[in-house]
Amino acid sequence: MSWVTKTLSSTLGRKLIMALTGLFLILFLTGHVSGNLLLFKNDGGEAFNIYAKFMTTNPAVKLLSWLTYLSIIGHVIYSIILSRKNKSARPIGYSESKASTNSSAASRNMGVLGTVILLFIVVHMQSFWAQMHWGSIPTVTYGGEEYKDLYSIVYAAFQVEWMVALYVIAMIFLGVHLSHGFASAFQTLGLNHKKYTPAIEGLGKFYCIVIPALFASMPLYIYFTQS
């Protein structure tokens, strides 16, 4: 085995991949939520549709999207590899465990939280991303140029109660995943120091509440104000 494959198949190498893909997804979510704030603009979706076209056609954005797909796939594959290794490290469990006295529930359930997020990602990509790429979407014209009216698809989706519920629940799971994951990734990278770790932990607490809350507010806003 070369040193690269050896490193990436060690527990620490695998954790490095989890941390780097997780942090990239955190960056992605920040961008994604900022762009989607355009849904709150009361212009019938014009700004949002123009932004959506830019996001699907700009070459630099394309590269970033591919990195995002890779990160999701890598994060999920390595979470399965690590979870299986972790399971086999304790074939016989304890009959009694007071784990809640020594660790947070979020940290002990990253796999379950992640699985719900993955299910959400599949439904989410099927509803919007696949439609935008291959679906038959109505078009609108702004200033003589034709745009796919993704806004109308989003608008219709968020009239459906179970979709709104799914989005809100998934965002709660994402928030809990990140309540541990955000700071954990820095620890994995070896970045733990009394000078900046409190700041990272604070930022993590802020991020894991604000970003999922902003995402969840979009379906809620459309459902309650536009019908």
Partner: protein
């Protein structure tokens, strides 16, 4: 005190094992947990039954031999070693569940005794300094700033008990291994073998079948010596920089 002990009994490694309940009376609050087990074992011996096997040696909290997963926590309800746990931490009438450490890398030998030689093999893989150090050098001959000496010493207080593995949901040995890597990485004597040490000890840790780290922090919360998670971060830095710069292609 009157107690009921629910103890894991297992004849040998291939036996399936199971819990056996033992009522116990006349236990003093001032007894240590191991003394309480001594009382049980005396009673069992008098009845001609096989005493409960458990590990112990110094009974002063320094050797790391005692183990036991007591009422859902390694070393019981206090953050200390089982030999330093006293019966005043329990109440009259309690049922106390006693299990062995559970990890693939710590196979049960008998009853509550597990084989922790996987830890020894991690140390053998690199937890040493192989330069000839000669006789005891004069104090302060090798200048080491006090802050660093203290931090290395803190890491060196790890007694290798394995409570970190027992506490971790992944049965990960990262806290132990990181303490052993840290203690030498910070001192001048440890520099020569620094990169090899990180690579080899971590490879051995993986080979023994310990799990990975999810940074839950359960290990540090249960460690009787208060070994901190900063050691795991340091180990990760040591490892990543070693694989990027060592000569092991």
């Amino acid at each position: 005190m009157k107690l009921t002990l629910k103890v894991w009994r297992q004849k040998n490694n291939s036996d399936k094992g199971g819990f056996v309940n033992y009522p116990l009376d006349g236990i003093s609050k001032d007894m240590s947990f191991l003394e309480m087990l001594d009382v049980l074992n005396e009673e069992l011996s008098e009845k001609g039954e096989d005493p409960v096997h458990f590990d112990h040696d110094c009974r002063e909290g320094i050797c790391g031999m005692c183990s036991l997963y007591i009422n859902g926590k390694p070393h019981g309800p206090q953050q200390t070693t089982t030999c330093q746990l006293h019966m005043r931490s329990f109440s009259d009438g309690d049922t106390i569940t006693i299990e062995p450490w559970r990890a693939a890398a710590f196979p049960v030998v008998k009853d509550l005794v597990v084989d922790r030689s996987s830890f020894d093999r991690i140390i053998q893989a690199g937890g040493y300094v192989s330069v000839n150090t000669g006789g005891v050098p004069d104090a302060n001959e090798i200048p080491i700033p006090k802050i660093i000496a203290d931090e290395a010493f803190d890491a060196a207080t790890c007694i290798g008990c394995g409570a970190c593995v027992a506490a971790c949901k992944n049965a990960s040995a990262m806290l132990f291994t990181s303490a052993k890597i840290s203690q030498l990485a910070m001192l001048p004597q440890g520099q020569v073998e620094r990169k090899n040490r990180a690579e080899k000890m971590i490879a051995q840790m993986d080979e023994e079948g310990f799990g990975a780290c999810t940074n839950t922090g359960a290990c540090a919360a249960e460690c009787p010596k208060g070994i901190s998670l900063t050691n795991i971060a340091r180990m990760n830095r040591e490892y990543f920089s070693a694989v990027l710069s060592s000569d092991n292609v």
